[in-house]
Amino acid sequence: MSQELNIAETEQEIISEFALFDSWDDKYEYIIDLGKRLPPLDTKYKTDENRVRGCQSSVWLVADFKDGKLFFQADSDAVIVKGLISMLIRVLNKRTPDEIIEARMDFIREIGMTTHLAQTRSNGLLSMVKQMKHYALAYKIKDPVPSKN
């Protein structure tokens, strides 16, 4: 890609990819494949402070801030969750705090995650999004650089 996609465009890409699958069996296989390919998080980051609550599995999320953008890393001991995390990171990684705070994350609903996943599970997914937005807000307050373009 010569030009990076914005959040909405990235979400649309994911929605289009999911539209190629006929069955939830195939969608889950795809999500699991994404999960297996997510690079593991260094054990030093797997601490209680980095845990995301609201999931039956263990989820850790770390955020770094550089040149006005957030860089996320995450991991889980459950592979479907890893797949979901990798999609969230694909959408929200290397973005400015404002972009993340304003992101609507419609793709989660569009690919059927909120209706197909039980409320208990979609709560975990939404907890992750919330946590990522909290990081964005925290970095924005700490380092209020006006975002360019």
Binding site: Y28, D77, V81, L117
Partner: protein, 414 residues
Amino acid sequence: MNSPITKSKSLDINVIRQEFPILNREVKGRPLIYLDNAATTQKPQQVLDALMHYYTNYNANIHRGIHTLAEEATAAFEQTRDAVKSFIGAGSREEIIFTRGTTEGINLVAYSWGRKNLQVNDEIIISNMEHHSNIVPWQLLCEEKGAILKVIPINEKGELMLDEYKKMLGPKTKLVSIVHVSNALGTVNPVRQMIADAHAVGALCMVDGAQSAVHLDINVTELDCDFFAFSAHKLYGPTGVGVLYGKKAILEAMPPFQGGGEMIKEVTLQKTTFNDLPYKFEAGTPNIADVIAFKSAIHFVQSIGKEKIRRHERDLMDYGQQELEKIPGLKIIGQAKEKAGVISFVIEKAHPQDIGILLDNRGIAVRTGHHCAQPLMDHFCIPGTARASFAVYNTRYEIDELVKGLLRVVKILS
């Protein structure tokens, strides 16, 4: 329909399944395979009918009314009390208290018996395999009273280390509260002997019968337990109803749990006297409809016969274990010599949550996670298990489907 006719020795399971309308539904486009009965059981038509019948024909508040509807409702409500008394072999109806469930029953004992009878440095014994409902009320009580909570360890098979239990018992032990059948492991504990051991040192014994009331024959008089708690909804009955059994003399000496209407004799602003048993512990309007419908659940079980149900479940357990053990990387957690109702397992490289999600996608309902028994999971150093739990309407075919589903899970996740 969704499963072939299954005859299990003298039980026609397909006929039984027809009593359960929910078994006809589909999940994610496939026939429902419900293997989460330890969490709650499905309800036979007669239980559903009893609920509708009550509300359609004789709904009224009970115990005080003198009009016809009130008398009919009261009679039906009290008939359930008698049915429960026979079901668990209690001595008298005064010993049967209706609660919201097992958890409330345990809390009632902790609050009402515990606060009056426990002193600083007294000891309460529970085990490492308890459900949170049989841990937390005692933790709260011990913290309040300065008492000590002791925990019977378990071995790698998920059995209680009974020698350690005997060593823990002493003059300071005031109560032992123990699960009869573990909801996470299926282990059946030798409660009759444990009760006798507790009594020998002057301690009382409470039994958490949430899983055992449906799977085993319960006779509280023979067990000689001082308290026994269980829930209707795990026994093909409605949610929101449970039973606390307590020996009459003990209940009589206990202060009330909740105050309010029904549990009083006379109220003045200066002083209030309390009602007789069992009403002393049943404040406010109870869950009338569901208590009445509970009787139909008891009749359902008794009409089939617990022994026949048990034999069928035994067959499912044996077949289930045998088939699951063929799955590569699968390990059954809880290998006690005596088990009932549940098979908990883990699969290498597969988080229980992933197993649960993928099975659900095939219409198969199992439970995953810590099963409200976090200390137990810590003991086995696992985040949780996947758990299949059986009821009278489950079939070998459903186990075959579970196995097929799990083989696919293993394939995708490896």
